[in-house]
Symmetry: C2
Subunit: 147 residues, 2 copies
């Protein structure tokens, strides 16, 4: 019985990216599972000052999304895995990741989990949000806080 | 390279116990890892009405702890795994589990994760607490909410 068939790695392009990808690749190999790398370009409606986005904001979103797509495509191209893909979207990370997981019928989400100190507490909130929202299993991969 | 060497499964003896144990055993087999089953008997100082526990409360704690030890020993005896052990302690579950994980040099904690509805939100808080406190990776295993 396959324990997990499709893994989704949530990436925020932080310092720990390489370690997270290595870990996800190892896990995908052990489980003989598909792997999708995903990045959600953080969409912040508050920055628009209202319901209707300004043209400049839309252009910035499109640029960030294009940049994310390029990074993911490049990362995936460098992996020695047969069944690996990537997805980039605009949105709130915890919602985007869990929505993608449902769409792709993922059975395990992998997400980096930071410590409890200062800025790391904020950065860690995606892991927390995904844990609450996900309909599948979630592996929180502990990344060091640089201490 | 071994991805995980020692798994700790946090059990609350709930309805999903069998599924959680099956999952943990599969994971331990895949990773060729040790497995420890752990239960923390929830210690509630508030029930004592003060700093000093009453003799009856202490006796109740001892009884609950003995019962938990018996259940874990019986569960472990029924598993077809060579390297499996159990631990039972008194304490706050999220703290007890993360403390045990450190003491046993566990590299992956497995914990059941409930949904977001009503009572399940409260039950799920151990997973959330463990995620924040753990110094190692945490796998939240989604258990159904009976809906």
């Amino acid at each position: 019985m396959a324990i997990y068939k499709h893994l989704l790695l949530a990436l925020d392009f932080g310092d720990d990216q390489e370690r997270l990808i290595d870990h996800a690749v190892s896990m995908a190999s052990v489980f003989d599972a598909r792997l999708t790398l995903a990045h959600i370009v953080d969409y912040m409606p508050a920055a628009y000052g209202g319901e209707v986005p300004l043209p400049d904001d839309l252009q910035m979103d499109a640029l960030l999304l294009d940049k994310a797509k390029g990074r993911l495509a490049s990362l995936v191209a460098g992996l020695a895995l047969p069944d690996v893909d990537w997805r980039a979207e605009l949105g709130v990370p915890k919602h985007g990741i869990t929505r993608l997981a449902e769409e792709l019928e993922v059975d395990l989400i992998l997400v980096g989990s930071h410590g409890r100190h200062g800025l790391q507490l904020l950065l860690g909130s995606t892991a927390n949000g995904v844990l609450h929202l996900a309909g599948c299993d979630v592996l929180a991969i502990r990344v060091k806080d640089g201490d």
